[in-house]
Symmetry: C2
Subunit: 349 residues, 2 copies
Amino acid sequence: MASIGIKDVAAAAGVSVATVSRALNGHPSVSAAARERVLAAVETLGYRPNAVARSLRTDQTRTLGLVISDVMNPYFTELARSVEEEARALGYSVIIGNADERPDLQDHHVTTLLDRRIDGLLVSPTDGGSPGMLAAARAGTPMVFVDRWIPGVDVPVVRSDGRTAVRDLVAHLHGLGHRRLAIIAGPAATTTGRERVDAFREALGAYGLPLPDAYIGQGDFQAESGRRVTEGFLDLPEPPDVIFAADNLMALGALDAVRARGLRVPEDIALAAFDDIRWFVHTDPPVTAIAQPTGDLGRAAVRALVDRIEGRPGESVTLPARLVVRRSCGEATTPRQSPSPSPVRRSTP
Amino acid sequence: MASIGIKDVAAAAGVSVATVSRALNGHPSVSAAARERVLAAVETLGYRPNAVARSLRTDQTRTLGLVISDVMNPYFTELARSVEEEARALGYSVIIGNADERPDLQDHHVTTLLDRRIDGLLVSPTDGGSPGMLAAARAGTPMVFVDRWIPGVDVPVVRSDGRTAVRDLVAHLHGLGHRRLAIIAGPAATTTGRERVDAFREALGAYGLPLPDAYIGQGDFQAESGRRVTEGFLDLPEPPDVIFAADNLMALGALDAVRARGLRVPEDIALAAFDDIRWFVHTDPPVTAIAQPTGDLGRAAVRALVDRIEGRPGESVTLPARLVVRRSCGEATTPRQSPSPSPVRRSTP
DNA sequence: CTGAAAGCGCTTACAG
DNA sequence: CTGAAAGCGCTTACAG
């Protein structure tokens, strides 16, 4: 049962384990003859180096940890995919931890990852800074924040800025005649939770529109909260004209709630979402959304992290998000006036 | 920079490293006094055992590998989530490898995972048996297949049986008057790719309906192939009445293609899918689908794998899938006759 | 109950 | 170019 090790290879090749190791690691000072015999032995024995032993010795695992807020959220799923791709291209593996928007789970994963001595950590923090995360940052583990970040912690952050897109969205909504605009916010403990509300409020302000407290629903970026908040909006004496969900899952929940009441989008109430996903093209109606350059974010985050790991600077990156207009907020009667260059993504031929 | 190790704790507690190790691992023969001092030292130093060193010594990583066919597929995403949950409950971590439906990538992940000496491997094979996978099975790594499996390899398989649900679906379609039924199949190299076609053909046979080759489109479980195949169907002199997509992503592609032609579902062509996802409730129209007990599959798979790892038998499990009727195949004019007990999932109040 | 010592499978100065 | 040896940070028989 004992799988074959470097000693077996050395014996088979008639060299020392040192030579085997050198041959396998591309060390220059190995004779061609020795190298050949080693490779042959490796081949016939089917030898695979034990990565655990190697890591212990070299103090590096060639592994990145990625702690995301919620795997079930297509946005993070896509982020994870691009992270893994870029990491693989750079010679790293990635271990994903799913926090499910729970700080305790996030901490569990950060701790586990650190125990495994990953070379670097990519995090999209679920809250303002759980103890484990802060400890990781302090301990000097190379780290970078993606999408969400923690103010005051000195770590590069790779994210997208939705301010302009939100402004475009509000212009679009205003142009359609909507005046009572509500938002389903993410957790106030997250940067994206706060920023999207701020951007929305600011954009409304430019039109002299208020954002009353009653029109700010507190969600947690998951579908159920979107449903609950939407019901609250619908129960208001004066319900909003539009609901802007701060992520795609809460938009899904909103859709559930609207449908449950037998109401229609956009006739009875309009809907828009932060984070664009493929299904939004086929929902009833297609949902107007703000699209992040998700793949680019994932790749940039990996590059920044690997830079840090390998001793280079590793800088923060901010990429713009953009508005994708569909039908969920109503149709412009005048020749479709998009408020700014906002091409419809994945347009159908 | 050198993080603190067991020696530091031993020094601080005034005991040997052996005692520290025993205290931390709950070994019975440690005096209460020693244990206390160790725990105190651990606390003040913020010591965390190096999992790499421990793994090398104990020859176990308390880690499971999960190689899934495609992370971007919500079905696998949900599977991954339930796998991680159950694993965590049993004291294991899981490392996910995304094969993206590519056998070479699958092999890459299997190899990497094995190099890391994971304790067991959960795989949903992308093809009929890539060399790395077969090697893993042969090498005696505890392994179980989920969802898809490889015939002839002696490994427990945890999956769902859709035969009955497919029969229910065909009954439903037949009842609606559809006679020309087509399928977008998954890769013939996968069991689910083959089984779903077989089940469909068999169910059609019960109604004396044929499944001509022209009505079997070869897809690869990803959206783009669903689009391509659907276009082919639509170009046929006699296009089908119904398209049954063997997974949710190909259904998405089909929706793209139908929409691009300006056709409507179900008026112009009906659509059904294998694998139910939340968005299907809100698509235009809501999509009739076959739902797998995904969470149960994930949990059962982990239990089977951990059983194997810990020396217990570890048995195969097959769970039934079920039909969820929505509007994408047309509305029954007679009082909605569901073909069998097929409650609509997540019904809206 | 406790410690000294061996050893897990590698890599890498150090000599030669 | 090559090998003997030390050592990465733990765990665990073996003595006491």
